[in-house]
Point group: C2
Chain length 277, copies 2
């Protein structure tokens, strides 16, 4: 058992994510028991549920060891029936990229955000396959650590349009939205370097903070997909905009609220809007 | 220097690919000197050129050590101006996924096919980031080795449509083809689990041999993208079909010939055609 008293909140979150990473790697490419949620494109595996339980257990025990009252600890988690917002809240996606995981694509992550009341203070995202850790703390910057790249501070640059990589997806719940997305991508495509759909929105946003993606587009995501990664991206200098062009706001009273957004370096927003007209 | 006389052709190819993998990892996320080839979507980096030179040097030296006459050794390579087909031919893509590499996406591979006259006998594909090696030998099967998955024989299964992952891309040279691809994907999308565009066709085909992808679609690829991976996929039980539905044939007299194909388990071909109507 970890000596939680030696940890601060950030390191507690990293510890919890690493435990889930071990679990996800151990279950990868084993028999994929899964159930459809809303549709055959929206599935949950036993691994999502195990990872979520492990995160909740470790975070709760760790917070208690850090002298927080258990009654003040809240969770919003993807695979839960109900939210439980308190003073100290964790917003959890136990396995972002479930379809990848179920199909054997080694690209997914664990996402843990920490909020005091309704202000997200810390984001931790861990890719268990490349063993890349992304984290950000409000007003303290965001960072990456991996075997391949070492440790570095993340700072988004505004690249020219012809070098843009755009992370995109197709809405799995509303086929009329998906059809419009295909039209938008068809229009954008000739101007940019490439479009990628790799299957984990949370990692798309972290990769954007690391200057891999220049624009991330998504219509059909949730608070737990975005909470941790939004701190990481914003601390790197990026912004998420809702479809009216305003900085994306979270609805803390309704975690089931779906979001649509585009994210980019603020200097590239006008260029993107021009290309999408 | 390797003692080439201890190697057979397969192990020589693996040795050459491993040298290029070291080079690609060392250059990853360094300054990305690149030049446009046909367009801003078709680029070549110094790393492509260095990898190709390294592959040619090692393969030539190794074949000579194996007592082949230098005059009998030929190459078809992506970054070459002219082909040089002989009795013993290597078909090389020194870095499949150049746009990924240049944008910092750790998903690319080295591809080396070996042909006696015009028959491809061996395919070797190495992902330098996940350190996954795929190989196939005609009539001997195909195999994978990685730290994550160990070593295993590849055998393609015919999964039900609602579990299909389709690997797709958008043609970068002909916008009318790209527009038709967007239409096709829009039609297929509601029936399947997901569409992915990860940025390395050669790895798409190897992942298909490993049951990650159920269908791979591409319109605008070349001999060097396909040569090695086609052996690996066919030995796993998959097939590549041209747009008329016949098994894909290579034009050995013209390596600049672009190809369009779909690949799948033969039992799934009719289902795919039904969905694409």
């Amino acid at each position: 058992m970890t000596d939680f008293e030696k940890l601060d909140n950030l390191n507690l979150m990293i510890q919890a994510a690493e435990k889930s990473a071990t679990l996800i790697r151990a279950n990868f490419r084993q028999s994929h028991a899964f159930e459809d949620k809303a549709s055959h494109q929206d599935i949950v595996t036993q691994t999502d549920l195990q990872s979520q339980q492990s995160l909740k257990d470790i975070l709760t025990q760790g917070m208690i060891a850090l002298k927080y009252a258990e009654s003040e600890i809240g969770f919003v988690a993807e695979e839960s029936q109900q939210d439980n917002l308190q003073t100290h809240n964790f917003i959890i996606d136990p396995l972002d990229g479930t379809s990848n995981f179920a199909s054997g694509i080694p690209h997914a992550c664990i996402s843990v955000g920490y909020a005091e009341n309704e202000e997200i203070k810390i984001g931790v995202v861990l890719d268990p396959f490349s063993e890349t850790l992304f984290w950000g703390e409000k007003n303290q910057g965001s960072f990456l650590k991996s075997k391949l790249l070492g440790e570095k501070t993340l700072k988004l640059q505004a690249k020219p349009v012809q070098e843009w990589m755009i992370a995109a997806h197709f809405n799995s719940k509303d086929s009329s939205v998906a059809a419009k997305q295909f039209e938008q991508y068809k229009q954008l495509y000739p101007h940019i370097r490439g479009l990628r759909n790799i299957g984990s929105l949370t990692l798309d946003l972290c990769w954007q903070a690391d200057n891999i993606f220049d624009v991330v587009l998504n219509q059909g995501c949730y608070f737990w997909d975005l909470a941790a990664a939004s701190v990481i991206l914003r601390e790197a200098g990026g912004e998420l905009f809702d479809l009216s062009g305003s900085p994306l706001q979270f609805d803390w009273q309704n975690s089931k609220q779906p979001y649509a957004f585009m994210s980019c370096h603020p200097e590239n927003k006008a260029k993107f809007e021009e290309l999408s007209k």
